[in-house]
Amino acid sequence: QKEVEQDPGPLSVPEGAIVSLNCTYSNSAFQYFMWYRQYSRKGPELLMYTYSSGNKEDGRFTAQVDKSSKYISLFIRDSQPSDSATYLCAMTLEGTYKYIFGTGTRLKVLA
């Protein structure tokens, strides 16, 4: 079983839709959870950073962590064509600072 699993997509949605992106993980020792956006030929850009279970909101983005189910989500409200990118989840194990990434989900928001 992979440490971090993420549906690769592509996921196509119309402009204005609510997008839900998800990652599951197998190790309950993961403690910090991040979401990054990566445009083609660019580096990962930090969107959200969470530690505890629950929701964290920043503008159109909401990150959700459910440690009991080993499941994290990123919701994008009022999606825009400029949101078209690959979304990466990343997490760290207790006692280490190295990030373990999911494979990324390609999102296309259609105008």
Partner: protein, 113 residues
């Protein structure tokens, strides 16, 4: 907004040659990292660096690789005797503390011929 900068953006090298990839982390950050992303695969951790020494490294980071912070601003990754399978995007990242989120540069695309 402060950012991590990487040079060159694209490096083409003959197999067996040595390459040095350069990074300028965010100025007040203390933790530095290298990751790589082979085309079509996920981003993989290579090494972390703090207080002028390696704090953690992956199985990928063998004797072929080395890192250095030669001065107060640069952070370099050296790959000796490059192989075809070293072709990838190499990302540098930095963080204020170990637990603060890491900020990534736009990467160096390394092509080994």
């Amino acid at each position: 907004e402060p950012e991590v900068t990487q040079t060159p953006s694209h490096q083409v090298t003959q197999m067996g040659q040595e390459v040095i990839l350069r990074c300028v982390p965010i100025s007040n950050h203390l933790y530095f990292y290298w990751y790589r992303q082979i085309l079509g695969q996920k981003v993989e951790f290579l090494v972390s660096f703090y207080n002028n020494e390696i704090s953690e490294k992956s199985e990928i980071f063998d004797d072929q690789f080395s890192v250095e912070r030669p001065d107060g601003s640069n952070f370099t990754l050296k790959i000796r005797s490059t192989k075809l399978e070293d072709s990838a995007m190499y990302f540098c990242a930095s963080g204020g503390t170990g637990s603060q989120p890491q900020h990534f540069g736009d990467g160096t695309r390394l092509s080994i011929l």
